[in-house]
Symmetry: D2
Subunit: 273 residues, 4 copies
């Protein structure tokens, strides 16, 4: 596998963005050894970091390189700041457009990646789990599969005013307002996971692997989405195991999520929840 | 010289920040060659990028590595986003605190850098020139010298409402409001260069090298600050040459600025405008 | 442009190799701006460093990023150690095979690069100039164009025993023997530029841009190859300007070399010396 | 922790070397949070890769960042090629001098590292385990502790002619000769671990943690060194657990090795086997 570090000027982000990537490489036959990994283009997982995370988190803390080799996929890991992977109309910085459009175009143009929907996955942890669900559903013609781990599904709580006095970790209440905008406009918007899911139903709805540790502080919020999806008959995998909000859980979850995707792929069901 | 790429979790930025650095290195004597660069700690230039820039801009586009060797200094180049290198009370992301406090502590603890005020410089181009002036003046007990190139001295224009309808390059008007806050509170605040300079006078006022190309679209704003500084008898170097807003000018300006610092250093005048 | 840093396990090098790259990127239309750089695959310049050099030398010291944008090419800059970019039968480390075969396969499989001979260039400075000539000629079915700057054309001198007592810079005489093998076998071998050129004549002979500063300590060796090529009527461009063995010359030479390639391309003459 | 990637021109290696590092960083108090990691300089582990490995192997495949935080140490991971971390008189490339002298001087001059012998450790896996033993013993006034995992202790076999026909993996027999020189001169030389250990006895002999998986193909060679050390009463820790030649074992071994070092440190025994 090749490890890549790249940076480019992003229109969507109004500045440079950095990303890391794991790519399979083709080696020619040599010294009596057969060629390796002949041929691309590869299925691709766009994999997002959490709040206060960075482009190398998955690379350093998980076996993502090994999993990429095992399943024959490329993994692209952008660094997006604490923007919940959505667009910000105030500053014009568009982290949702980055993930859903620009980075797809850029990396497909740059690397040897499949351009097929069935080969294009989005995943992430915590804030990145929210980002995977939100952008996987919003850009459902691009992504066939969503792998969401311990997702920060906090938009309902935000709409309910829960963070208005929250100042923990030095994060002021204004941060949430800056990210999500007026709370009255949240429900039903393109930041609302349940509303986005409902809109996809019957129309290229991505397959969703929704994973959360049973001791995670975000468990009840994930369970709520699971219930809402069940109620609307949005076919998804609800994967719960003992665990908290850390890489011990995320490493088990990404293994399980990719195995689930792979078995669906083999049975011809990817992208068809 | 060693080239460094580093990333760490920044409290001030509520997430990882990346920076690049150029450091002199000490080599032991070997194979009949004398030791090289024996001894530190080194004077240090904190060097800021412009709007939509990144940590490697100076490294790629200017002879900063050669200049660091020539003057015996370390250069630290953080990546700070489009935040004008000031704190944002709304999101809690504090790019001013990063430059004025945290990054100083972190890099002095990490590398072999001088901890003396007279050895600590701040510089930058465009938005980073503003950042150098603002933070050099605000943290005037830390920095003895400011090198400001083609500085984006736009706070007066902002206070005058000039950007309220500006939407060029996809930057919405809200961006300026997000960065600078209510325009009524700008004048006299710690974002106002002239007010900061006035406050420093007679009290560890950093030496200021104010450079601008005569064809730069920001020339008149730089000339205004020069006039305000002259009026208050803030000693500074006003360096004007033909040039526009690009690295051709910035490369001449950083050479001139470091030569100016070096000659002041040799005559014992650094940090004493 | 995207800047890339990559590393992968190389069979040819029996270990990891690192390379940097400059790639054009395609940006989708956004915020009223047109798409940018639509479409690949791109012509590619494989660009080699000199003795004691590294993958980032060209990136830091030359305007290679700007030139890549100007001419619409990708530039791949591998790090190969002090191996003169040839194979070493003793250790099994094959830096020639790396440049002539493996890296071509790997980067074409990884990035969106043209697979056409007429779009594939090799270049380098000093030891890398030798590497460009040697591998450009040896793998003449792969490369259509060679850009060689201040090339370390020392194989004739080596065969004549010139380095047997050379110990400057801590480089022992044994180094040359380790790199080039028995001096008696040099003439006419696939390490001998004139012999390689003769073999190509009339059979996919790459176009050669041979540049050297008139004050370079390697000037006479480059002039010798120019004369040998002239004698055998190997069509090539002999580009001499005042200059020594440094990036001031190499930056002028790479600009001239790419302009020469571009004008030949436009007149339909690339790869046809 | 800060992650560092650095490159510098190395006299010992006659070219650029790259290394990665994990450093603790000091953060100032902020937003009501206490300062973090106040003070250095830190104990330091120089950690070597194996054959065909690279500077990021430990960073990607082991919890070295977490262990560095846990034990309050810096970790420096150089990339040295397939040179067995010893000097090569033929080429003048001195990977032993790099590890034992130059990199120590460079990193101590660059970072905030302890200069005390008792705070300076060397470790590695496979070829790097050999390198740690060889250089830890040779430069025993610099290093107090050696952590050697699955070490490629092949010098006795080499002296016995075992590799003369070995061509597996494309590694020709000449490779070993190039690395180790005439086999007759091996025994008793400064490449012979048992001879180096005997020389240290009673004179700043580093504490040695010798770890090997019981199913490792190198087990018997490690057991031989253990027996030789036991016979000469060289105090060392012989750590055997089920395992083969992979990171599953190395990750258990580095945890055990650092815990062993830490408990010795706390009982005042470091560097006193």
């Amino acid at each position: 596998m090749a490890i890549i570090q790249s940076e480019y000027y992003s229109r969507a982000m109004c500045g440079f963005i950095s990303f890391s990537a794991v790519l399979r490489i083709e080696l020619p036959p040599t010294a009596g050894l057969p060629p390796r990994y002949a041929g691309g283009p590869w299925p691709t997982l766009y994999l997002l970091h959490g709040y206060s995370g960075a482009r190398n988190d998955w690379l350093k803390n998980s076996p993502v390189e090994m999993l990429a080799a095992q399943y024959g996929i490329a993994v692209i890991m952008p660094e997006g700041g604490n923007r919940f992977w959505i667009d910000n109309p105030e500053t014009g910085i568009r982290a949702g457009e980055l993930i859903g459009e620009e980075l797809i175009t850029v990396t497909r143009g740059m690397f040897s990646l499949s351009r097929e929907r069935e080969d294009t996955l989005i995943g992430g942890l915590s804030m990145g789990g929210y980002g995977a669900i939100r952008n996987g559903l919003k850009y459902h013609d691009t992504f066939s599969t969503i792998l969401a781990f311990s997702s920060a599904l906090i938009t309902t709580a935000y709409a309910d005013g829960e963070f208005e006095k929250r100042t923990e970790m030095g994060v002021p209440s204004g941060y949430y307002f800056h990210v999500f905008g007026p709370k009255e406009k949240m429900a039903g918007s393109d930041m609302d996971p349940a509303a986005l899911a409902a809109k996809c139903l019957g129309n290229n709805a991505p397959a969703l692997f929704l994973a959360c540790g049973s001791e995670d502080f975000l468990f009840s919020r994930n369970a709520e989405l699971h219930e809402a999806l069940t109620a609307m008959e949005y076919p998804h995998e609800w994967w719960v195991e003992p665990g908290i909000h850390n890489f011990d859980f995320w490493n088990r979850a990404i293994r399980a999520g990719l195995a689930w995707w792979d078995s669906r792929r083999k049975s011809g069901k990817e992208g068809a929840p």
